[in-house]
């Protein structure tokens, strides 16, 4: 058993960390006001209070209903979420009352605070309602259906919306919503449950060939199905990142469940082949790849849908350098979508490389907690669920941030917890709630499991 050190009551440590994060958040908002409008405005409290109050509400619920839950996850979630709000607020505050075109500017910070409150309330409800994550196993096929339905929603006429080339959105009335974000939770639950029940046959059956066990054809069924579904997402919704995300979650979970690298190798080859063909056939993917490979090229830079945004993001990051310009001191507003897709370049500009390293490290820490929960659990479903959620956060962060930092071609996913957008916040806070719930039932030292 890994838990050798006992740090005292985990909830007390959590409480102290939440206080620290709340203080940092107040400092961020104050710093932004002083750096941009030069005075402290009391609207600060309206941005500060809701996330902080709800975090303490969640803390209280954890004390009552999940007192052994991990103590780092909630403070990290709150910190990343509020840092995102700070940056979004910072971008809002410098906008003129009326834009050059005579309209009111698009403001995001207030909405983000409201979404955060809703997302944290839902997370609190999840902790209250899901008494044990093991009960989720009963709903794996419901999860599958829900996941598929959510994925398909944006393709429906009327309500489906295309935003910057990708069809990932649903709009009803004034509300828009990215159902794919919730689909990733449903699909993770489904993959975990499905693989637990099928792992024996997937792992063992098959003939050996040159030392590699080749599964029987029918055992390849699921991987082919998921592969086709991912390609469908790529072709129909026109987004490489989303497609990669779902397929990679499945590959990772099937690997963890069966311990057979065969699936990963075959799956990766299938995906790369599919993506390559798609990039040849569909100009938008090809354009993204061109921008990725040579963004500073004059023609690529000037092309419609070219590398302008990516390059402006790079300029912003370079402007920040090692230590950044300080919150409110940079020019992140020069980058299109600075509050959502490119929030990492906004943060990199104002907090510098040092700040980005800290943010990366906090994500790694959050993911490490998920891994730890996964390792500590003894039952396969809990293990798969925890590593699945951890990997979802890791991969999504990697795909988005990698896109901005030119590790990968740019895609239309949102930066978990940081970026403006309600759907993503709700989905990620549900993941946090579920991770907290799973961590509460980790077998304790001295408690004999199985």
């Amino acid at each position: 058993m890994a838990r050798v050190r006992q740090l005292g009551n985990p909830r007390n440590i959590e409480f102290a960390l939440l206080l620290l994060v709340a203080g940092l958040y107040a400092f961020e908002l104050a710093q932004i006001q002083l750096a941009t409008v030069l005075v402290l405005r009391n609207e600060l409290i309206l941005y500060w209070a809701p996330p902080v109050v709800l975090a303490f509400v969640m803390h209280l619920i954890l004390r009552l209903r999940a007192s052994e839950a991990d103590w780092l996850i909630l403070p990290i979630g709150l910190f990343l979420n509020t840092l995102g709000i700070s940056m979004i607020y910072r971008l809002d505050i410098i906008k003129p009352a009326i834009t050059a075109s005579g309209n009111a500017p698009d403001l995001f910070a207030q909405k983000q605070v409201i979404y955060t409150a809703i997302a944290m309330a839902i997370a609190a409800a999840v902790i209250l309602l899901v008494r044990s994550h093991l009960s989720l196993r009963k709903y794996i096929y419901v999860s599958m259906a829900a996941g598929v339905l959510l994925l398909l929603l944006p393709l429906l006429p009327v309500i489906g919306k295309t935003v910057s080339g990708a069809r990932l959105w649903v709009g009803i009335g004034g509300f828009s919503f990215q159902p794919g974000e919730l689909a990733k939770i449903a699909l993770t639950i489904f993959f975990a449950g499905y693989l637990v029940s099928r792992r024996e046959s997937l792992a063992v059956v098959g003939r050996k060939f040159v030392g590699v066990r080749i599964p029987q054809a029918r055992e390849l069924g699921p991987i082919v199905t998921i592969w086709l579904a991912s390609l469908a997402v790529l072709v129909l919704q026109r987004d490489l990142g989303t497609s990669l995300l779902y397929f990679a979650i499945f590959l990772v979970l099937i690997y963890v469940a069966t311990a057979r690298p065969f699936y990963v190798v075959v799956g990766a080859l299938m995906f790369v082949t599919g993506a390559l063909i798609a990039s040849r056939l569909m100009s938008y993917v090809g354009g993204r790849v061109d921008s990725w490979l040579d963004p500073l090229n004059e023609a690529t830079y000037n092309a419609v849908g070219g590398s302008y945004q990516l390059v402006q993001g790079l300029f912003g990051l370079a402007h920040g350098g090692l230590f950044g310009t300080g919150l409110g001191g940079g020019l992140p507003q020069l980058v299109p979508l600075a509050e959502s897709d490119f929030i990492i370049s906004s943060l990199g500009e104002e907090l510098g490389l040092v700040g980005l390293f800290a943010i990366f490290a906090l994500y790694l820490l959050l993911i490490a907690r998920a891994v730890r929960i996964s390792v500590q659990h003894n039952d396969d479903f809990s293990k798969l669920l925890a590593i699945g959620f951890g990997f979802v956060i890791a991969l999504q962060f990697f795909i988005v941030v990698g896109g901005v930092l030119r590790v990968l071609p740019l895609t239309g996913l949102t930066t978990p917890l940081l970026a403006a957008g309600g759907s993503s916040l709700i989905a990620n806070w549900i993941i946090i709630a579920l991770l907290l719930r799973i961590s509460d039932s980790v077998p304790r030292l001295g408690v004999v499991a199985e």
Binding site: F360, I387, G402
Partner: protein
């Protein structure tokens, strides 16, 4: 299963390592090249945060920053289009040009000589205040040059021969640099496009960095200098003076200006040839000297060199690999000889200064906001172009040219003026390029000047250097002498 989880963790770690590496590469390793990218406006925005220093003429700002009540904090204000060839412009959106570009690091306080101010700014939290540059320009001379050119396209450069200080530098038409300093990107872009597509090309600095011009007869000063320096010629050396001359190896026949024999005699002295600006004798002298001798002399005057005043002056060109006929044409400033007005002013200034060329400069001093002098260039020798004797002899020819020769309109009553006109051909039916260069007073030179007028001053092939360029030069010299 834990072994597999461990491997997934390694994969996640690798993903994050790639992000760490990518962020470090962008923010540290390639940060400088990204910052210097032409498409990156952040440095311009940043520099708007500092109170940019002024560009001053006689302690009056010709470019200065005043507070504005918007996010840009300051607006750049320019006093007059008369100074546009000096200041250039400083724009949020279109970059920088002219001294605003050349002196940028001083004006925005980021020059390495302002290190302690920068350090102070870091600790005090106050932004750096940029240094101001006082120019050598004399506002009265600048005004006289601007007015004298009137509506003609062209340029004037006036230099103090002993020091190389530039007293006037005008390019016409000028432009209103305020148009680019506006705080609306679309407006600034529109204004810039209008100027850029204006057929009179006001954004071109004709004095130093426009298209170079054919010098015509003012180049005879270089050939006369080369001839005297060679020792093979003296002012009284007689040269054949036919009415027409067929260039060796060709059927091209050249004429003197005004056709016929230059001065009427069968032979003419070098002194007279320059005074009357005879093409045929000079072609023969040029061919006899050879292109290498002429080129060596031209380079001593500054040809082929990138002179910085501190703006970069486009180097003037004396062609290479010419045959004898081309050398003949080059000797009276035709064929592919191309010069900047500043180069021509430098030649006159050098002759005026006894053959010693001085480094031309616009900078009197650069001073920080707390009056620390960062730079105050002392007169610097550019190099000896010709001997004092040769200088004296060429000067005497130029004095004759104004007093009783073809450059008569440069004359100022009661003062001995040295001068040389030029009327360069630019091809059949093309209007001439008109020149005057000279200095005054001849015995104690206070000012050397070069005037160029494009497009025949609007008179096509009827405009001559002596008719249009010489009076401009006279007014500029008078403005100096009347101080």
């Amino acid at each position: 299963m834990n072994r597999e989880i461990k491997r997934v963790t390694i994969l996640i770690t690798l993903m994050f390592v790639s992000l760490f590496v990518a962020a470090s590469t962008i923010q540290v390793i390639s940060a400088d090249s990204l910052t210097n990218d032409r498409r990156n406006f952040r440095p311009v925005y940043d520099s708007y945060k500092v109170l940019r220093g002024s560009i001053l003429v006689d302690n009056q700002p010709i470019a200065s920053s005043v507070s504005s009540n918007d996010e840009f904090r300051y607006t750049r204000v320019y006093a007059s289009p008369m100074y546009s060839a000096l200041t250039g412009f400083y724009s949020y959106f279109q970059g920088r040009a002219g001294l605003e570009g050349t002196l940028d690091s001083y004006l925005r306080g980021s020059n390495s000589s302002q290190f302690f101010e920068q350090l102070n700014a870091i600790f005090s939290g106050n932004p750096v205040t940029g240094a101001s540059a006082e120019l050598t320009i004399n506002p009265k001379v600048q005004q006289a040059a601007w007015d004298a050119l009137g509506d003609m396209k062209g340029a004037v450069v006036a230099i103090e021969p002993r020091t190389g200080r530039i007293l006037a530098l005008v390019s016409k038409p000028g432009f209103d640099a305020n148009l680019m300093a506006v705080h609306s990107g679309s407006q600034s872009q529109a204004n810039y496009s209008t100027l850029l597509t204006d057929r009179n090309r006001p954004l071109i600095n004709r004095a130093i960095a426009g298209d170079l011009y054919a010098p015509g007869s003012v180049f005879k000063l270089v050939v006369a200098s080369a001839a005297l320096e060679s020792g093979k010629y003296s002012p009284t050396t007689l040269i054949d003076n036919p009415a027409t001359y067929t260039l060796p190896g060709t059927k091209t026949v050249i004429h003197n200006s005004g056709e016929g024999k230059c001065g009427g005699a069968k032979k003419v002295t070098l002194q007279q040839a320059l005074k009357l600006s005879c093409n045929i004798p000079f072609a023969q002298v040029g061919i006899a000297l050879g292109q290498d001798v002429i080129r060596a002399q031209a380079e001593k005057f500054g040809f082929g060199d990138t002179v910085k005043i501190p703006m970069t002056v486009t180097p003037s060109v004396y062609p290479t690999n010419m045959d004898a006929s081309q050398t003949g044409l080059s000797a009276f400033g035709q064929f592919d000889v191309r010069v900047s007005p500043l180069q021509i002013a430098m030649i006159s200034a050098t002759i005026a200064n006894g053959g010693l060329a001085m480094q031309p400069t616009l900078i009197d001093s650069i001073t920080t906001a707390n009056l620390q002098v960062l730079s105050a260039p002392t007169p610097t020798q550019y190099g000896r172009a010709i001997s004092a004797t040769t200088a004296e002899r060429v000067k005497s020819m130029m004095v004759d040219a104004v007093a009783s020769g073809v450059s008569s309109n440069g004359a100022i009553k009661g003062i001995s003026v040295a001068g040389k006109t030029g009327t360069a051909q630019n091809g059949p039916k093309q209007p001439y390029t008109l020149w005057f260069t000279g200095f005054a007073p001849a015995d104690d030179p206070k000012v050397a000047v070069a005037v160029v007028i494009e497009d025949g001053g609007g008179m096509g092939q009827k405009g001559f250097g002596n008719l249009l360029a010489a009076p401009v030069a006279r007014k500029v010299m008078q403005a100096v002498l009347n101080q």
